[in-house]
């Protein structure tokens, strides 16, 4: 579904990704770990198409209509319409735009892209109710400004609600676990597990093993200084938890 080949990217003239390779197939769960500042969020933003980053080398191949296509030049909204979703490490506050209006506009943009009729407000509300149950958010969240005044944990939950509503093919969750309390982590993880299927793929960026107890990864990657320096199975995370990154990073 996603194949990244020798990807190089910079921001403000500074090279952050320095030849990164990654392959993700449908049905898989990948975890990316790595020290602070190693480039994990940068990788997720480059995949989603953040305008501050420019790709200076390599390819981001993503399957569109069953054909791998280099998406490096596509607009962020075009990528999202093709099923790429990024749960932000720091979700942006958009005061004044209600969560409901935001979700509906977003969902209908995808329907429109697929050539379907947009849902009416009532139809969408019904669809949304079911999704709200998945991560147990209170209904009044819908009438508030997007992430505006939300607690750290509520913002993360809101990201997963969006994921549930938009049903993406490729989801990248950037530290969705940080800031969640123990119960919320469980609820959110269960939500992600419900959304997970053999047709979609999930990339988890995390610092902690605990998330991986709930959402079982197939592969673990260590990102360091803009490159994936090690890939392994779930046992790699346990090893990292025990020994830290020092072991690999000579």
């Amino acid at each position: 579904m996603l194949e990244i080949k020798n990807l190089k990217a910079e921001v403000d003239g500074k090279e952050i990704l320095k030849g990164l390779n990654l392959r993700v197939n449908a049905g898989e769960v990948h975890a990316i770990m790595g020290p602070n500042g190693s480039g994990k969020s940068s990788l997720s933003k480059v995949i989603a198409g953040h305008p501050s980053y420019s790709v200076t080398g390599g390819e981001i191949l993503y399957d569109i209509n069953f054909q791998p296509k280099n998406i490096a030049d596509m607009d962020p909204d075009e990528r999202a319409k093709e099923g790429i979703f990024l749960a932000f490490q720091y979700p942006v506050e958009v005061p004044g735009v209600t969560n409901f209006n935001f979700l509906m506009t977003s969902f209908n943009s995808i329907l429109e892209h697929q050539g379907s009729e947009p849902l009416t407000e009532d139809e969408f509300r019904k669809y949304l109710d079911k999704k709200m149950d998945i991560i147990s958010l209170r209904p009044d969240f819908l009438e508030r400004g997007v992430n505006s005044g939300f607690s750290g944990g509520e913002k993360k939950k809101n990201e997963i609600l969006q994921m549930a509503v938009l049903a993406p093919r490729l989801s990248i969750l950037d530290e969705t676990d940080s800031g969640l309390d123990i119960d919320a982590l469980k609820v959110v993880s269960e939500g992600v597990n419900k959304i997970k299927s053999k047709n979609n793929a999930i990339v988890l960026i995390t610092h902690y093993q605990r998330l991986l107890d709930y959402i079982k990864p197939d592969f673990i990657h260590v990102l360091y200084q803009g490159r994936i320096v090690k890939t392994g199975g779930p046992e790699l995370a346990l090893e990292l938890e025990k020994n830290g990154y020092d072991g690999f990073l000579q």
Binding site: P51, D77, R79, A80, P91, V92, G96, T105
Partner: protein
Amino acid sequence: MNIINSFDSFLTEAQKFPHVADWTSKQRAKEQLVQSGLPTRKQESWRNTSLKFLSETDFKPASHSPMQLPDSVLSLASSKMIDGCHTLVFLNGFYMPGLSRFDVNTVLVIENTKKPISFQGDADSASIHHLNELYNLNPIDITIKADLDQPLQILNLTHLMGGEPLVISPKMNVTVKSNKEAKIVLSQVGEHQARYFTNGQFTFAVEKDARLELVNDVNQSTNAYHFDFVGIAAEASSTVRYFELNLNAQLTRHELVLELNGEHIQSEILGASYLKYNQHCDSQTYINHHKGSCQSEQVYKALLDDEARSVFSGTVFIAEGIAKTDSAQLNQNLLLSDKVEVNSKPILRIYSDDVKASHGSTMGKMQEDEIFYLQSRSISRSKAIELLGQGFLNEIVLRMGSDLLKKHFSKELLNELGTQRKTKLKVVK
């Protein structure tokens, strides 16, 4: 000066209805006007706004509408009525009881009132008030006797009915009786693309312990010139919440005077403007703290596109020796184009020590991170800008106390941004 000179013929014509107005005060207003002339840009509060249009177009004073209204007027009226509100309809400044629907047990309407209402407004703008005095022929007195269960919409319609450009001069005074609550919408609207000049005087007496929430919704024809004076006299322990929405008019000038005449008054003065093309909107506010222990909060937001211009001048007066005054003022401007112009001026006249007073003004472009966030959710760049612009202004609308009005104006904002931007399909980098 055409607009002043038309007075003589107007006088001859209108004196056929001697009962409707106080002709001596009109004559006096005319003399004062001739003496002072209209404001020029040399006067401080008119520095950024020109009255040139008054000499370019010959605006005729509006007169009573025919008994039989054309369908175009009726359909305009019904399209502008807000569902779920009581409505008082005014056409070209004249009360239309036949089109109005309200509960007589809560609202009392008296026509042709001669009750004097005086406000100490901006001295440089006195001639604009005189101009209203010259031409208003149907002053109205409205009393809110009991709590309003639904908002009261005062629908000020302008329609030329195929005729020449008009000057419309509504004048009304609203009293909210002690301990009563009213939500009032002043809908200032008119015939699509028509050229006219509305110059209204709206005064409000908010008695002790009363609560007034007032929405001044200016959504005129894009060729219209809209001036209004809103004077609010608030008594002890009352609450005043004023929302000014500027969505359409070629040129808008507001003068708002809030007199805090008693202690423990809570007041919010809020504005949201979406200005585009070469629209010009000038809001002058005067908040006068005469007594202690009052709060006044002002937030004026403007979203500017194309070559639009926004002027905000906020004067806060705090009288000598009064205690525990809390006053805040904020003017925020979001710029969608490089050719817009913003003038923002706080004027603090503080004569007391026991005061918390703040003011601030910001100007900026839309954040790329916010646009990206929306784009990452499949929303196109231009739709993202539209939503973020709506959100910026909608923060003001979401502070309204009525769910009905919140919904109505949120939608109105979104429609306005949607249709404007769709016709242009312009993307700002």
